[in-house]
C-alpha cells in the first residue's frame, strides 16, 4: 500500500503536540498553545436579569469566533460553517454539561443574576481548534474571580476588588474535548490532527469528557461510518488523554496561584521568552530618561513662533498656489491650449450648421444672465423677450462693460467670431457624432 504509518511531524498516532498553558494579568485570561495552534480565552461578568423560566440561575454565554488573524480564509462578520461548528461544540461542552454552578450566580431571585461570558479568540490555526478552545475556555473559567456583592433589602452593592477578595466560580467538573481524525473510511485514526492532516481526513470525531470518565458530548462529522467498537476504543483513548490534560491544567493553575502570591512574574507580557531567537527586549539601561526641561524651551519657542505668524497674516498664513489659466484652455494635466481640434476640414462643414444653432442657444442663455447682472432694461418685457432682440455686437459691449469682474463665462464675441473655424465647440460636435 505504501503507507509508512508515520505522521509528517514525526509524532506517534496517539500523541498530542506540546501543550502550553499561560495566564494573563487579568483574572480569567488564559492562553493555550497546542503546537502552533494558539487560542486565547477571556472571561468577564455583568449583572443582568435572569430568564423567566429559570429565575434563580445565572447565565453563561460562550462566544467563539474565528478571528481573521488565525488563517487567511477566515473572515470577520458572518460566521463560517467551521465557526458555527466550533461555537456549538463549545456550548455543548461547557453549557449543557452544567460544569459551572449557575445557581450560585444568583444575587436576587428573578431580579438580578450574574451573567458570565467567555470570549474565545483563535489567534493561529494549525489544526485541532476545538481541543485548544475547550481547554482555554474551561481553564479561564476556573481561573476567573467575580467581584463579591452585598445585598441589603432591594439594594445590591458590587464590592470593589480592593475591598473584598473576589470569588471563584463554582466549577463542578472540567470537560475537555479530544478530537480524532479518520482516514480510509475509518480504517486509520489519529489523535490531535494538525491543519494538514485535517485537510485530507475523511471524518472527525470530537469526544468531550471529564476526568471522572463522564461523557459530555460526542460529535461525528464527515462522510463516513464508524463501527461501534471503534467509537468505544476512541472513548478509551479520550479518557486517558483527558486525565493527562486535566493534570496539566491543574498544575498550571497551581503555578499561577503561587506566582501571584509571591509577586513573581506572570501575565502575557512576562510569557515572552527572551531566549527565543526572534524576540527582543529593551533593557532598563536602553530606555533613557527624557530631559523635559530642555524640551520645555523648545516647545515654548514653537508656540511663540506659531503665534507670530498668526499675527502677521491673520486668517490664511500662505497664499494658495493657484495659477489662472487663459480662457478656453484644457484643465487636464498642465493646462495649455486645447489640442482637441485636429484638422479635419471635410467633415467640419456640415457640423458648422449644428454648431451655430448650439452657440445661439448659449448666447440666449448668456445674455439673459448678463442683463440680469447689469440690471439693464428688463423694465416691462420679460427677460426672455429681451434676449431675443440682442445681437452679437450688443454682447460685446456688455462684456466689456462688465470689465474686470468677468470671470469664467465664455467670451461670447470670440465664440461667435470663431464659428467659421472649427474651434472650441468642435469637441461637442465630435461627441455628438
Amino acid at each position: 500500500m505504501g503507507v509508512n504509518f508515520q505522521r509528517l511531524d514525526g509524532r506517534g498516532t496517539y500523541d498530542y503536540r506540546k501543550i502550553t498553558i499561560t495566564f494573563g494579568i487579568d483574572r480569567g485570561c488564559c492562553h493555550v498553545q497546542i503546537g502552533d495552534t494558539r487560542v486565547m480565552a477571556q472571561v468577564s461578568c455583568e449583572v443582568t436579569t435572569p430568564k423567566q423560566t429559570r429565575p434563580n440561575e445565572g447565565l453563561l454565554y460562550v462566544n467563539a469566533e474565528l478571528s481573521p488573524m488565525a488563517a487567511p480564509h477566515f473572515e470577520a462578520g458572518r460566521p463560517s460553517q467551521q465557526g458555527v461548528e466550533l461555537g456549538r461544540c463549545l456550548e455543548r461542552c461547557l453549557k449543557e454539561s452544567r460544569c459551572i454552578d449557575t445557581e450560585s450566580l444568583c444575587i436576587m431571585s428573578g431580579m438580578k443574576v450574574w451573567a458570565i461570558r467567555v470570549d474565545v479568540h483563535v489567534l493561529n490555526h494549525d489544526g485541532n481548534l476545538i481541543d485548544a478552545c475547550s481547554m482555554a475556555a474551561i481553564t479561564a473559567l476556573t481561573h476567573f474571580r467575580r467581584p463579591d456583592v452585598t445585598v441589603s433589602g432591594e439594594e445590591v452593592t458590587i464590592l470593589s476588588v480592593e475591598d473584598q477578595d473576589p470569588i471563584a466560580l463554582g466549577v463542578h467538573h472540567m470537560p475537555i474535548c479530544v478530537s480524532f481524525a479518520f482516514f480510509h473510511q475509518g480504517k486509520y485514526l489519529l489523535v490531535d490532527p494538525n491543519e494538514m492532516e485535517e485537510r485530507v481526513m475523511d471524518g472527525k470525531m470530537v469526544i468531550g469528557m471529564n476526568k471522572h470518565r463522564e461523557l459530555v458530548t460526542l460529535q461525528l462529522t464527515g462522510s463516513m461510518l464508524l463501527h461501534k467498537d471503534q467509537v468505544l476504543r476512541c472513548t478509551q483513548i479520550a479518557s486517558t488523554k483527558v486525565q493527562e490534560m486535566t493534570k496539566l491544567i491543574e498544575e498550571a493553575l497551581k503555578n499561577d496561584v503561587h506566582e501571584r502570591a509571591t509577586g513573581g512574574q506572570f501575565g502575557s507580557a512576562s510569557s515572552q521568552d527572551p531566549s527565543h531567537v526572534t524576540s527582543h527586549v529593551t533593557t532598563e539601561k536602553t530606555m533613557e530618561e527624557v530631559d523635559t526641561e530642555a524640551l520645555r524651551e523648545l516647545a515654548r519657542e514653537t508656540v511663540l513662533k506659531g503665534r507670530e505668524t498668526d499675527r502677521e497674516s491673520p486668517g490664511m498664513t500662505r497664499a494658495p498656489d493657484i495659477t489662472l489659466l487663459g480662457k478656453q484652455t484644457g484643465r487636464i494635466g498642465e493646462g495649455g491650449l486645447s489640442s482637441w481640434d485636429v484638422e479635419d476640414i471635410e467633415e467640419s462643414e456640415e457640423d458648422d450648421v449644428e454648431m451655430i444653432a448650439d452657440t445661439n442657444v448659449k448666447v440666449v442663455r448668456e445674455t439673459s444672465h448678463i442683463s440680469k447682472c447689469l440690471g439693464i432694461d428688463s423694465s416691462e418685457d420679460s427677460e426672455e423677450d429681451v434676449t431675443e432682440t440682442l445681437a452679437a455686437h450688443h454682447l460685446g459691449v456688455h462684456e466689456s462693460s462688465r470689465g474686470a469682474s468677468g470671470d469664467t463665462t465664455i467670451d461670447l464675441t470670440t465664440a461667435l467670431n470663431q464659428q467659421k473655424r472649427p474651434a472650441p465647440g468642435r469637441e461637442r460636435g465630435k461627441v455628438k457624432r
Partner: protein, 229 residues
C-alpha cells in the same frame, strides 16, 4: 462587562518610557506577525498581504489597507471602528500602496492586555508586524503617548491604566523615522497650547527609542531567519 482589576499595576516614572518587549514571526499562518508589550499592556498583530482583494473593495491604482482591531471582551463597537480608521490611515501613509494595485494588505490587531498606553502600543504592534511581513514602506512609524495630570507640569510618558484614570489630558503621537514629523495625533481632555507642544516634543524625543527597538528587533528577527534556513 467587568474584569476585576489586576493586582500588580506599578506606576511608571514620569520621564521614562516603559520597557518594550517584542516577539516577531510567532504565528505560522500569517505573513507577518508580532506580539508587543509596553510595560504590562500587550498586543498581538498579524499581517496578510499583499493578497487578493474583494471586487467591491478593489482600488485600481493602489493597495487597499484593511485594518481590524479586535477587543479582548465582547464585539467591536463604535470606539473600535474609530481606532481602526485612525491606525489604518496611519499605516496607509507609510505603506507604498501604489506598488501593489488591486491588492489588499490586511492588518489585524488583537488586544491581549490593556494596562494603559493602548493606542500607542496598538500602532507599534501593527507596524512591527508590517515590517515582519516585509511590506514596502516609505518610513517606519512609531507612536508614544503621554498624559498630563492635575497640578503637575511634567508630562508622564507611557502611563499605566491607574495613572490614565487620574489624567486631565491624554495625547498619543506617531512619528516617522526619517524626519521625525508627526504622522498621527490623537488627544483627549483639556490642555493649553504650551502643554500640547511640550508633550509633542517629549514624545518625539522618547519615540527615538522605539525606533531603536524596531531596528534591534528586526536585526534579531533577520538573523533568526538566517539560522532557520
Amino acid at each position: 462587562m467587568k474584569i476585576p482589576l489586576p493586582p500588580g499595576n506599578k506606576m511608571s516614572s514620569s520621564s521614562k518610557s516603559q520597557q518594550l518587549k517584542g516577539k516577531m514571526h510567532l504565528l505560522s499562518q500569517a505573513d507577518g506577525s508580532c506580539s508587543l508589550s509596553v510595560g504590562q499592556t500587550a498586543f498581538m498583530a498579524a499581517v496578510y498581504g499583499p493578497r487578493e482583494v474583494k471586487m467591491n473593495k478593489e482600488k485600481v491604482d493602489k493597495a487597499v489597507i484593511e485594518f481590524m482591531y479586535r477587543p479582548k471582551v465582547g464585539q467591536s463597537g463604535c470606539g473600535e471602528r474609530f481606532w481602526e480608521t485612525l491606525v489604518g490611515n496611519t499605516c496607509e501613509t507609510a505603506i507604498l500602496c501604489s506598488l501593489h494595485p488591486r491588492k489588499s494588505v490586511g492588518i489585524i490587531v488583537q488586544e491581549l492586555q490593556n494596562s494603559g498606553s493602548q493606542l500607542a502600543c496598538c500602532i507599534n504592534a501593527a507596524f512591527l508586524a508590517l515590517l515582519d511581513a516585509c511590506v514596502p514602506v516609505r518610513y517606519m512609524v512609531a507612536a508614544t503617548c503621554c498624559i498630563i495630570t492635575e497640578g503637575s507640569t511634567e508630562p508622564i510618558l507611557s502611563p499605566t491604566a491607574v495613572q490614565e484614570e487620574n489624567a486631565i489630558a491624554h495625547m498619543t503621537f506617531a512619528f516617522d523615522s526619517v524626519d521625525h514629523n508627526v504622522v498621527c495625533s490623537h488627544t483627549t481632555g483639556c490642555f493649553s497650547e504650551d502643554q500640547f507642544q511640550l508633550c509633542l516634543e517629549v514624545c518625539r524625543k522618547a519615540n527615538k527609542q522605539v525606533f531603536d527597538f524596531y531596528r534591534e528587533a528586526l536585526r534579531e528577527r533577520l538573523s533568526g531567519s538566517m539560522i532557520e534556513c
